[in-house]
Amino acid sequence: MCNTKESRRKFLKKAVQVAGVATGLGLTGTVAGQYIAFPNTIVPVLKKSVGMLAEIPQGISTYRNFQVAIIRNNDHVTAKSLVCTHLGCIVSASTKGFTCPCHGSRFDMQGNVVSGPAPKALVSLPVEVSAQGEVFVDIGTMLS
């Protein structure tokens, strides 16, 4: 026959053990986890100069060190991130748009997806033209 008192005691003992181990592991895990997965980001200068507006050619020009493309349409300039929205490779530009060498995503001149696995358009970056005509791109959103 089942001895309820005995089994209750066993159950309580087990419960205390499990709770103890879980708390211990949980606390250690949280501390250790936060420590090792800390993104340790050094905030860099986010606004990059890509030169004078007058010198930027019409169409797409790429600035690989900043991972951006500047698209100039007469006096209108926009900037796109070169980081593929699929899995993060660097896309390359052509006269027709952008292509990714990793899994073949294609984007048009405006950075919209034409085909391939990329889920969304290339990220637009804020552009500023100073009074002197120097063009700055804010690459901050790419690093978040």
Binding site: I36, A37, P39, C89, S92, C102, H103
Partner: protein, 346 residues
């Protein structure tokens, strides 16, 4: 025979083992093959530890030195490489053999789960090791892999666990290195011991049944002599492959210039093909579903005595084979039919 005073290693087997488990077709020697690969990996890995430098620039330079300057460096690196590849392939074959045999019922389910964990660990070790040279292929595989991690639960945590900063740099290499040479191998060894110990605990490789004779033989020498032979054959085979297929070293990682197309090594390029359809349907869903299915389905594929139910056993086995066939198909497409910009060539 020396039964009275048996040394530590002699306890791997019971004094007597089923003669049936000694037939080659019982296991195809896959477990022993895996252990042999592991020994080779530890030996060559230890040698590489003396020369490898875990930093963003140092990694590739040290690989160049290992490959082109050190005596036998290229060969040692190749053997490490090939053993790793063979290890992963044998893991899959060992898994198929177990599924076909239905050797996951009753008390053996525990060991089955240990085995599946070992398979996961083996893959993790393989992938981290593949990144360490920090050549072009490694760099872009890492970039893609880190973004892929974000799609999984706790993905951001995992990503930063590997990345160790804002971008791929020396901290990333150090972390991958630590995982590849310490964390995963340690776990692999511990779990392998547990795996072998459980084989003994579950009474060897066979569930006793009335159909088969239960003839037993002494493990010493019958089992040991076969295992030693298998070990030697595996080692020789790997050395021969290494002689004919020296490991390649791609150009140094150029973080802003992915080659076009950039293709992963052949064992992983199937994943790349799957991802080129969709991250979610080609990456996340298959990985999550397969893990859940292959860990839990065997539990319900057995009756209350722990014997596999025939139809479910076939279902499990054929699922494994189909998954592998699809993967091989993707691999073939990716290797031979994908050109620049990942476009189909024909």
């Amino acid at each position: 025979m020396a039964v009275q005073s048996r040394g530590f290693w002699a306890h791997i087997h019971a004094p007597k083992v089923y003669s049936r488990s000694l037939c080659f077709t019982a296991t195809f020697g896959l477990g022993v093959g895996l252990l042999s690969c592991m020994l080779l990996l530890f030996f060559t890995g230890a040698l590489l530890l003396f020369t490898y430098i875990p930093s963003m620039q140092g990694a590739y330079s040290s690989l160049q030195e290992i490959t082109w300057s050190y005596p036998y460096g290229h060969f040692i690196r190749t053997v490490h490489n090939i053993s790793g590849t063979v290890f992963v392939i044998l893991l899959a074959l060992h898994f198929f053999r177990v599924l076909w045999a239905g050797a996951y019922g009753g008390t053996r389910y525990k060991n089955y789960v240990i085995g599946v964990s070992l398979m996961g660990l083996g893959l993790c070790t393989f992938v981290t090791g593949y990144i360490l040279p920090m050549d072009q292929v490694a760099y872009w595989a890492l970039t893609v892999g880190l973004t892929l991690l974000e799609y999984f639960p706790a993905g951001n945590f995992l990503k930063h666990l590997v990345l160790g900063g804002a971008t791929i740099d020396t901290p990333t290499v150090v972390r991958l290195y630590f995982m590849h040479v310490a964390v995963f191998p340690l776990l692999l060894v511990l779990l392998s011991f547990l795996h072998l110990w459980r084989v003994r605990k579950d009474n060897g490789l066979y569930v006793q049944s009335k159909k088969h004779s239960v003839q037993k033989l002494t493990a010493d020498p019958h089992a040991y002599i076969r295992e030693a032979t298998l070990f030697i054959v595996t080692v020789i085979a790997i050395l021969l492959i290494a002689h004919f297929f020296p490991a390649s070293l791609e150009p140094r990682a150029a973080p802003l210039y992915p080659p076009n197309p950039v293709k992963a090594i052949w064992l992983l390029v199937g994943t790349q093909e799957l991802l080129s359809f969709s991250v979610f349907w080609g990456g996340v869903i298959p990985i999550v579903l397969c893990s859940i299915f292959f860990v839990f389905y065997p539990r319900v594929a057995c009756d209350q005595y722990g014997h596999p139910i025939q139809s479910r056993r076939y279902f499990l086995f054929s699922t494994a084979i189909s998954v592998t066939a699809i993967y091989i198909g993707c691999t073939i497409v990716a290797i031979w039919f994908r050109g620049p910009n990942w476009l189909l060539l024909y």
